[in-house]
């Protein structure tokens, strides 16, 4: 058999392409369900991790249901119905103006206290970065934070996902004394006061990305959270604790 004939070359290439395509698409479709489930469970893990609950991936789903009491969608600072908050693709929402986004909000309860969990998404140096930040009931004090990234440099930008960085966030305030939204500034050392944290040396662009992400994503929530908080206090005062918003 002459393997250098044109007809042979074409036939070989055609068969190769078909075989490879079949093998790869078979692998992709048969593994897709498992992969999607991993992504979903990881999201639950991350959400829980932002209220300082660390779980194994296998048990994430059950524990998630224990803690997260409400999943809301906030649009133009109002809760809207009919959209599943958990399935929202944040990457599409952050492309819109803050008030036009369908912004998912998770309300969790831990040891009798209510926490708001806000998903974040922004840009790092090489690719997207994202995370979850949990606020205490006053909508200002950070209770916990978790970040992750697609392709930041290991040892530099990728350090945003380490405890060393995320542990800087708890007890910081995103509102100033007059109740205005300030966000969190990521500083090059010498961070001081309730609105600043130290960035990562060698990971400046990623650190600034975290700062911008917090600034950008939280805007969609703050007025709503203030209303929510006010309404909670009001309803508590009137001894009629109907939740203002409910999801089913």
């Amino acid at each position: 058999m002459d393997v250098n004939k044109n007809s042979y070359t074409f036939t070989f290439a055609a068969i190769m392409v078909v075989v490879v395509a079949a093998v790869l698409s078979f692998a992709a479709t048969s593994l897709k369900e498992k992969q999607d489930n991993n992504v979903r469970l990881e999201k639950m893990q991350n959400i829980l991790s932002s209220i300082n609950v660390e779980v194994e991936r296998d048990e994430a789903e059950a524990i998630y249901k224990d803690y997260v009491k409400q999943e809301l969608v906030v649009n133009n600072y109002q809760p809207i119905e009919g959209i599943n908050a958990f399935d929202i693709e944040l990457s599409k929402e952050v492309a819109k103006a803050p008030e036009e986004r369908n912004a998912p909000l998770y309300v969790a309860e831990k040891e009798g206290k209510t926490y708001f969990i806000l998903p974040l998404r922004g840009k790092g140096l090489w690719g997207p970065i994202w995370g979850y930040i949990s606020l205490e009931k006053n909508a200002s004090t950070i209770y916990g934070a978790t970040f992750d990234h697609k392709s930041e440099t290991p040892g530099l930008g990728a350090e945003i996902k380490t405890d060393m960085f995320t542990s800087l966030f708890p007890d910081k305030e995103v509102l100033d004394n007059s109740g205005e939204f300030t966000g969190i500034r990521v500083m090059k050392g010498n961070a001081d006061g309730p609105h600043e944290v130290n960035g990562i040396s060698g990971g400046t662009i990623t650190s600034v990305g975290v700062q911008d992400m917090i600034q950008d994503c939280m805007k969609s929530y703050i007025p709503f959270l203030k209303d929510y908080q006010a309404s909670q206090t009001a309803s508590a005062n009137s001894e009629n604790s109907n939740p203002i918003v409910s999801i089913d």
Partner: protein
Amino acid sequence: MAEVQEVKKQAKEREALFSKKNRKLITDPLDDSNPITVQVLGICSALAITVKLYPALVMSVSVLFVLAVGNVIISLMRNYIPNRIRIIVQLVVVASLVILVDQVLKAYVYDVSKELSVFVGLIITNCIIMGRFEAFALANSPWKSFLDGLGNAFGYAWILMAVAFFRELLGSGQLFGLQVVPKSWYLTEGGVYSDNGLMLLPPMALITVGIIIWVQRSKNTALIEED
């Protein structure tokens, strides 16, 4: 006629699975023909992923799999691959294997796959893999190709791990993510020590590889070229 075949058969059988020649296929790339320090292949990934030991290990294991399996596949097809499109065929084999590895990791060991995600592209472009397909697997039997793949992957892996060891240790005071330099030594904790941030940047990978080459050549003088 039958006798001749008999003799041929014996000659074939005499080549043991781990004959001296075959063992050399594994040991040579560790030192004398190391893909990184001697052939200077795969340098790009050696620079990119040696900031920490763990990604370097994951990368090494992935390259080991792709190189060994790919070598066998190419070797099995070696008599059927049309010469003019052999590079494309090799590329298709590497790319499919890498995608397959990535898909399986994503489904079964999700954390490892996240660690690997950035480097998948780098495996496909790793010149060692194409180099071994082209230089060895196209002309040798599957078993030999398998050994050659293993040998070269090990040769690649140990350099990667060595570089990552020094970079992680000196650059962040850790090994495999565990703190080994005592916290109390650091300037911020009142000590006198500070991590060398330069170690985390790509130039220091090149310099570390350079130092390894230097040490290797002063021990193994056969590698030194004549002027």
